[in-house]
Amino acid sequence: MEVEDILKIGDVEINNRLFVGTGKYSGNRMMQDVLVAADADVTTVALRRVDSSAPVESILDYIPPKCRVMVNTSGARNADEAIRIARLAKASGAGNWIKVEVVADSKYLLPDNLETLKATETLVKEGFVVFPYMSPDLSVARRLADCGAAAVMPLGSPIGSNRGLRTKELVEILIHEIKAPIIVDAGLGKPSDACICMEMGCAAVLVNTAIAVSGNPVEIARAFRMAVQAGRRAYLSGLPEESIRASASSPLTGFLRDDHKSA
């Protein structure tokens, strides 16, 4: 029997703990195929000025109906800009789920935790369900959770770098200390990276680049989904403890030799 394992964000029940981004695909159709293959319950999109020369079709029309859209504030360089983008997202009718992403550094795209906190405080008060993307810092994570963030989203490594969970030690601390769900966002490059996050006890992961720029986005989306499921199931099973010494898996009696004194 399947173990019922649902991530609850407010009143919303999420079955699939693999969140999938919508950037960098060869086209909207490919993006749609990936969301379907991943069976994604949650995705994210960005807001930009309308490009008058581009086709009129909207990316929203390609997102499967079951997939909840969390608009991100990418492009925001400070709290005020993030708040502005969040309000625009709400006015658009895209709902009140917002991924706060405040980046002031163009080389590493690392988040500005202080501005992220400011934006989160304001947006929670305005009724948004806020998912702040952050550098894994315990104090900031605590403050984010205390002010009502729906989850805390530490980065695994820089956005789009595919370098995996380089922040493992710090994310582990967040998992132990923060009551809000911890969702690793950014940098996961392989299904095994996602699996490690889930084995550790992350509530979910968000993957975009690793899927979008792979040789076969649809296939790797499936692989990520399986990896997230495997990792989650392992976590729920209770992982065994590690030890330095060996511990035989077969009985240490009844050997086919005469001198069976124990060592």
């Binding site: 919508t22 994210t44 930009r48 991100n72 658009s92 680049t209």
Partner: protein, 67 residues
């Protein structure tokens, strides 16, 4: 009428035009865009009654892919 749309100077030949007409005139689907006039978000239901004025700074925003 001289206005700015998405950071670019635009000269409108029409004497009067509301936001609804501005958006549909660009071939955009109203349900898929958001508008800000002079940094104030204008709810979609008001577009037909809000008229563009000289020197307005208008932002027309839509969704794009992102992670």
């Amino acid at each position: 009428m001289n206005i700015r749309i998405n950071g670019e100077n635009v000269v409108l030949s029409q004497g009067t035009i509301n936001l609804q007409e501005l958006v549909t005139g660009k071939g955009l689907v109203p349900e898929r865009v958001v508008m800000e006039v002079n940094l104030e978000i204008i709810p979609r239901e008001k577009w037909a009654t809000v008229y563009v004025r000289e020197h307005d700074q208008i932002e027309i925003i839509s969704f794009v892919g992102g992670g």
